[in-house]
């Protein structure tokens, strides 16, 4: 059982409130752009393996807001150590959500480690994430969307998505512009 990625993203962010979102490079960035642009989205166009750590720096700096990193299995695998690093700080306002389709979609659907049984939820648990979910159907996704508004301990969720490739929806790609509008949305000088 797996979910359609665009619909899954739309469900997660439909009622986002104050949520700050860092999507990993590639498909999750396109999914978030397709769900609707917002200055509080910091789209990564590169820095593979860095999404979770961008989220950590942001969560520590903005302790009163919730931060969600929404990235793909390949991107998460490249920064697996960052789950251990987050496990040492355990910020209560940081959620890491991995859209797992078991393939590297941007590069030709080559199988990722998760297709061979590597268990990202197990890794997150072992790294000290208090709340870990393996989301495979609509009810679990709705519960995750609700939890994104209330969680108070580090949250990790794997969302099983189908290995499809919907048409790309490309967000702004000027990194300086993305940074400045994000900071402006938080009332910071840009």
């Amino acid at each position: 059982m797996s979910l359609e990625r665009r619909a899954a993203m739309a469900t997660l962010v439909a009622d986002r409130g104050d949520l700050l979102i860092v999507p990993g490079l590639g498909s999750t960035a396109w999914d978030l752009a397709a769900a609707g642009d917002d200055p509080r989205n910091f789209y990564l166009w590169g820095a593979m393996g860095g999404a979770a750590m961008v989220g950590l720096g942001l969560a520590l700096a903005q302790a009163s807001r919730r931060v969600a990193v929404i990235t793909g299995d390949g991107e998460m695998l490249m920064g697996l150590g960052s789950l251990a690093t987050i496990g040492t700080k355990r910020p209560g306002n940081l959620a890491i959500i991995v859209f797992d389709n078991g393939v590297y979609g941007e590069t030709g659907m080559q199988p990722s480690h998760t297709q061979h049984g590597v268990d990202l939820v197990g890794v997150a648990k072992a790294c000290g994430f208090a709340d870990c979910a393996d989301v495979r159907e609509e009810a679990g996704l709705a519960a995750l969307a609700a939890k994104l508004k209330t969680f108070t301990a580090p949250l990790f969720a794997r969302v099983a998505i189908a290995a499809d490739e919907p048409p790309r929806v490309l967000p702004e790609r000027d990194g300086v512009a993305l940074k400045n509008r994000f900071r402006a949305a938080l009332g910071l000088k840009s």
Binding site: G46, G50, V54, G57, A61, Q62, T88
Partner: protein, 173 residues
């Protein structure tokens, strides 16, 4: 037996004056005193990293949220950062790094030489401004300049703390 150097305490005070609120580091002997000071400071988030490139992404996130970050590493760690620097370069994120040097003065371990020897050109290729402190009394003024460059100009700045400053690693006890 060397006296315990005091430049790390002055460097810590410099980071405080610069308003640094997050310090990422991979544990390193040359930075041990500074790491100790940072860990004891309740106003600074100290973040032990599994690899240095995590710190480059951390610093970007910190700046997005209005915090200033510094990154401490050894010269060997610089090589781990090179692709992640594209985040700082593409978005002009401030990135302030303090790099303890290995592979130069009285190095016993030849495996430290290949990376230590290319730290400066690699940083320059990555558009970083590079400063080198060889004497204790140079550390503060270079750190101040680097912090100004990083946070004032939203740029990459690195202070190299030379092996003469750190002292040689003792291999037999």
């Amino acid at each position: 037996m060397n006296a315990i150097p005091e430049w790390p305490d002055r460097l810590y005070a410099t980071l405080k004056r610069a308003g640094v609120g997050q310090v990422g580091y991979v544990p390193d002997a040359g930075h041990s005193r500074l790491i100790e000071r940072v860990r004891a400071d309740a106003e600074i988030h100290d973040i032990a990293l599994t690899t240095e490139e995590e710190g480059v992404a951390l610093a970007a996130g910190a700046w997005l949220g209005g915090n200033r970050a510094a990154l401490l590493m050894q010269s060997s760690g610089l090589g781990n950062c090179v692709n992640m620097f594209s985040l700082a370069r593409s978005c002009r994120f401030p990135l302030l790094m303090f790099i303890t040097m290995r592979g130069e003065w009285e190095e016993f371990n030849p495996w430290q030489v290949p990376m230590g020897g290319i730290v400066e050109p690699v940083l320059k290729l990555c558009e970083a401004e590079v400063y080198r402190a060889a004497k204790p009394d140079e550390v503060v003024s270079l750190a101040e300049r680097a912090a100004q460059r990083a946070f004032g100009d939203e740029a990459i700045a690195a202070v190299l703390l030379s092996q003469q400053l750190i002292g040689k690693k003792v291999w037999t006890k």
